[in-house]
Symmetry: C2
Subunit: 166 residues, 2 copies
DNA sequence: GTCCATGCAAACCTTTTGCACTATA
DNA sequence: TATAGTGCAAAAGGTTTGCATGGAC
């Protein structure tokens, strides 16, 4: 952790945010921020805890959750829910600020992409509905290249086209 | 409930699915299906339970969950997670089979839309990544027309553009 | 010295599961 | 009658909270 000057700059940004809010900059908060800013993955709380222990830090889960709340509020970190039953966190620095996700249903790998057409759709649709957009989320679930090569296939179940067979 | 012949047809479709799977068609399953197929809303389990009690049916939560699993497996019902901490269910009959959601962050109202450009994006992006798409989800969060008229505004917090201020 | 954060454990909330009993086919 | 479903309550799993202690400023 904290290998790069980049990561250090991000941690300083978080510290600045905390001071602006009149909140103490604690060791625990710096450690959580360090782990999150040092990774390009979409980390679960367990991932974060594991990484901390690997570097000899032992911080309570409650503190991790509370710090993640602050990181999300600061806009430095984004919270994701890929339907796994828990949340994942990714920092928003040094990556496309607005991006969408490709999620492999077999191995769980998450890839990112950006397509400006998404914003065009958002602008068009929300204008039609008189809706004021704040954020959006486009997730494509399927099989990544590697899982396809490995011969993985997901079973199909249920009625194929129910609406046609009434 | 069960007011329309349409709803009855949907329930029959579910019964057919159950028989095909060699599963019993029970009263409880018919009641849950009736509630879900009779509504155009995105129902939570609590919504479903409340609706049942309103018509004098008292069915255990476990049975509701188990029946919803079957409805989802049959492809007759879709499961949604709008980040509220619980799931919502919508039937897929007599509505656009593939649609996206507009979710109001203030009142929770969910509207639907369809835009074929989403599929074009999906096709393009997945081809680029060698990814085999199975399903996708596009959700736009913001303020609906009514909440805007009512003067609702959501506070902005955090750093505005962190990446520029390192 | 004043606040606020931390850590632990308990609480929370939705969803799942085990088990004795009941209903479907 | 065999097999599977139901209901209840307990368990599970991620996340939040209360409270006594400790640390930041």
């Amino acid at each position: 952790m904290s290998a790069t000057t980049e990561t250090d700059a991000y941690i300083r940004l978080f510290s600045r945010y905390l001071r602006e809010q009149g909140l103490p900059v604690t060791h625990q908060r710096e450690v959580v921020a360090d782990v999150v800013f040092s990774s390009v993955e979409h980390l679960s709380v367990d991932d974060i805890e594991r990484e901390m222990r690997a570097v000899g830090e032992r911080i309570g889960k409650a503190t991790i959750y509370r710090t993640l709340d602050l990181l999300v509020k600061s806009n430095l970190v984004a919270e994701n829910d890929f339907g796994e039953g828990f949340k994942r966190y990714e920092h928003r620095l040094s990556r496309e600020p607005l991006h969408e996700h490709l999620i492999c249903l077999h191995c769980g790998t998450v890839a990112e992409f950006h397509d400006s057409a998404v914003h065009q759709i958002e602008a068009l649709v929300t204008a039609q509905h008189g809706f004021r957009p704040i954020r959006h989320k486009l997730e494509i679930y399927g099989l990544c290249r590697e899982c396809q090569s490995a011969g993985v296939s997901l079973p199909r179940e249920g009625l194929i086209c129910p609406i046609d067979s009434v």
